[in-house]
Symmetry: C2
Subunit: 144 residues, 2 copies
DNA sequence: TTACATGTAACTATCATAGTTACAACTAGA
DNA sequence: TCTAGTTGTAACTATGATAGTTACATGTAA
């Protein structure tokens, strides 16, 4: 199991819109950098738009940032592209046997632990902004 | 996306072996509590055995714990049943465009952040032992 | 009116999960 | 030694998500 690359692509898109801010970031342009199909980009941009992270309009070329990148954390992107449902990072087998002491209690015993772990993951993502990522890219680019 | 229920089933199996320690925990017995097929249980028990968590022998009925449950954390089970590969909780789209400043740097910029998040998740799982889960089950069972 | 973008639907290929059936290998007890 | 019962595995199926692809209606602006 792996969390969908929509997440990394979403970050990529936001970073590239920023770095290309003097140009026009069409889905085709973005697709060229990510190396995928423009329709895939448009789908993901639609999700970012739904979360209020970018501005796009039908017929008008180019996506723009709707917020300052320092106000967008990776957790925001993660939520926007919907790669993991609320409280459902871990799946729990359903229909355990209610006639068994373990079967009728293990879900209640396990779920809070799973939720805490998911929270820890998400908190970690919330500590990094997309601006941090862009700064890192710029730094790496200047060195090499 | 969701992490395989092999994980929750693995925890279930270990907890039930403990609670049923005076009886014989065959794959059929365990399957009755988890509510699945005995072959599914045998596959998962094989993984738990590979990680040194349980003892089983061909032809001999019943699985037993190979360690004290207080020495088995949920992280140990998680590793054992192989639900998430090392450093691969998040998938990153490959083949980004090397001619693009973002394309050629974003992987290096993102991967450490993803790894830190995965580590946070795993550390959280490491804080809970299967014994904690069993104790919780017993407590819930006595109250109700 | 023309050229070009976005938004979406429909479809495909690929893969992991979970379950199912079947059977060989093995053990222990009659 | 036979027999019954169990584990370990392979092979197969059904289901669902991912990622990509094509196509096209809708919309904008020169
Ligand atoms: S089936 Fe999940 S704990 Fe019993
Ligand atoms: S950062 Fe992933 S393709 Fe560019």
């Amino acid at each position: 199991m792996s969390i969908s690359s929509r997440f990394s692509v979403g970050i990529h898109i936001l970073a590239l819109i920023e770095i290309n801010k003097n140009g026009t970031s069409t889905s085709e342009f973005l697709a060229g950098s990510v190396n995928t199909n423009p329709a895939v980009i448009r789908k993901i941009i639609g999700m970012l738009k739904g979360a209020g992270l970018v501005k796009v309009q039908p017929g008008i070329a180019g996506a723009e940032l709707a917020k300052n990148l320092s106000d967008i954390t990776l957790f925001d992107v993660y939520k926007a592209v919907n790669v993991v449902q609320e409280k459902e990072l871990f799946s729990v087998h359903d229909n355990p046997n209610p006639d068994c002491p373990v079967g009728r209690n293990i879900q209640a015993a396990i779920v809070p632990v799973f939720e805490a772990a998911q929270k820890a993951l998400e908190k970690s993502l919330g500590n990094v902004s997309v601006e941090n990522v862009v700064d890192d890219i710029i730094k790496k680019e200047n060195i090499s």
